[in-house]
């Protein structure tokens, strides 16, 4: 009984994620219905465009599922390492071994990417094909073993939650919509303005392409926002599972603070000369938060404050009396 209460799922997060996925599903159902409706009311030539978009998007989805690990590793210029490849690799393997034993998961392949930004990612279409990649800066002495372990537990939670699959499926129809926007745009260009004298019998066709384009743009915009929202919730879920796994939410918190400092530090270098002036403004914060609320809608990760607040909850949960 005690075990059940201490590791209870976060109902609020579950509810928000369910709502997001429900809305996403609703948008997609509406999209499919609209396309079928348009197809039924018009000639087959427009249906071919839709079919074409679905096939290409399907190809993208399958390709990205199967090659996600190779693409990500080569983009990061990461090298897969074995425990015998030096001290750093052995150390990293030791941490991953223990995290996997705690979580009862198969061990992923491990890669190290040369980068001066502290970061880590996990990819691969399932737990057996997963690759965990850590940058060299993440392994530097700036991060304690506990912090590195917390980051690894977070990434392993992404693997456990099958986030690569979920996000690929979630973005599938968004890709279809994006392709349709492009196709109908070219269809408009060549069909409507092609000057082959088709305007007398095909005026309706151009009009329908216009509708397809409008619907696709709306679907793309809404699904884009919803997918970003879903991505942020899945980050929070991975934070939570990772922290519960290692039992050290504070280590993850301090790692998050250090990572975001590292990421923020680089673009602010140019602004350094302007920074002292900021001290004289009475409330620069108002300006800051406004920009932030907009950027949070579009970002794939929740804000640092949000993540720290959610981890506070985990901390309380783990420390509650029996």
């Amino acid at each position: 009984m005690a075990a059940r209460t201490r590791y209870a799922p976060d109902r609020g997060l579950t509810a928000r994620m369910t709502a997001t996925m429900f809305l996403l599903g609703l948008v997609f159902v509406g999209f499919v219905a609209a396309i079928i409706g348009i197809g039924a009311a018009t000639h087959a030539s427009d249906a071919v465009i839709v079919l074409f978009a679905v096939v290409i998007a399907g190809g993208f989805a399958i390709g990205s599922l199967f090659y996600s690990d190779k693409i990500a590793l080569s983009t990061a210029r990461a090298v897969v390492v074995s425990p015998n490849d030096g001290k750093e690799a052995a150390y990293l393997h030791g941490i991953v071994d223990r995290v996997c034993a705690l979580a009862d998961m198969p061990k992923p392949r491990i890669a190290i990417a040369p980068s001066r930004l502290p970061n880590a990612f996990a990819t691969g279409r399932n737990a057996d094909k997963a690759v965990l990649c850590v940058t060299t800066e993440m392994m530097s002495s700036r991060f304690t073993p506990e912090e590195l372990e917390a980051v690894i537990a977070h990434e392993m939670s992404h693997v456990a939650h099958k986030d690569v699959q979920v996000m690929t499926i979630a973005s599938f129809l968004g890709v279809v919509a994006a392709l349709l926007i492009r196709f109908s745009f070219y269809g408009e260009l060549f069909g409507g303005g092609g000057g082959r004298g088709r305007s007398n019998n095909n005026g309706g066709g151009a009009y329908i392409l216009f509708i397809i384009m409008g619907v696709s743009i709306a679907v793309y915009a809404i699904s884009f926002l919803l997918i970003r929202m879903l991505s942020r919730y899945r980050e929070l879920a991975a934070d939570r599972s990772g922290a519960l796994l290692t039992g050290q939410p504070s280590a993850l918190k301090s790692a998050l603070v250090k990572v975001s400092e590292g990421i923020n530090m680089i673009p602010t270098k140019d602004l350094r000369s302007a920074e002292p002036l900021n001290a004289f403004f009475f409330a620069p914060a108002a300006h800051l938060t406004r920009g932030k609320s907009l950027s949070t809608i579009f970002s794939t990760h929740p804000s640092l404050e949000r993540r720290l607040a959610e981890l506070d909850k985990v901390q309380q949960q783990l420390n509650q009396a029996r």
Binding site: G94, R98, P145, E146, H161, G247, Q315, L318
Partner: protein
């Protein structure tokens, strides 16, 4: 993990399997008969400490419980060490012929943690063996899998794979062995080994 858990991004922490630990004493006899490896009398439980007061209270209780036991039987007090990965090891030392008592002690640690709701924090239990040539061998029990695997460290972070496989063959069905060799992870410098 179920479909719904995947969809909602939840992982249930894996509860430990404890019962198979009691197969150790009889397996130790087979091991001795087949290879000459005898228990050293020391064993340890490795777990991931949780931050905060409630976990440290539980840990203190466990230590006191074990020390009370060993005090009455003239054993050594329980030793607590933290390894470089941040895991805590509770090392319990007995006479080499008291494997039963040792396993009972180790199980007491498990059940205390499980009762307090910290079962998912248990990583592994190690029981140390040694032969006439002073070769070291650990039998390690993985709580999440409920399986054992052998670990024979050599000098300089190398392991004696042939000895490990030999031990597995000799003991055979007396222990539930971990079938996935990728999960026979090394525990270099494990206390008590």
């Amino acid at each position: 993990m179920g479909f719904l858990d995947t969809l909602l991004g939840r992982t249930k922490p894996v509860p430990p399997k404890l019962d198979d630990l009691f197969a150790l004493p009889s397996a130790a006899i087979t091991l001795d008969a087949g290879t000459g490896f005898k228990p050293t009398g020391s064993g340890s439980v490795c777990f991931r400490p949780v931050e905060g007061r409630s976990f440290s209270d539980v840990q203190k209780e466990v230590q006191e419980l074990l020390n009370m036991d060993s005090g009455s039987e003239g054993g050594l007090p329980v030793e607590v060490t933290k390894d470089s990965y941040g895991f805590t090891w509770l090392v319990s030392s007995h006479m080499s012929d008291q494997l039963d008592t040792l396993v009972t002690d180790l199980h007491a640690v498990n059940s205390s943690l499980v009762d307090a709701g910290f079962g998912p924090q248990l990583l592994c239990t190690l029981v140390a063996f040694r032969d006439d040539q002073e070769r070291r061998l650990g039998l390690i029990y993985l709580y999440k899998r409920g399986t054992f695997y052998p670990f024979a460290p050599l000098d300089g972070e190398r392991r004696d794979n042939s000895l490990e496989l030999q031990v597995k063959g000799v003991v055979g069905d007396d222990l539930k062995w971990e079938p996935d060799l990728a999960r026979w992870f090394p525990v270099w410098g494990a206390p008590g080994l």
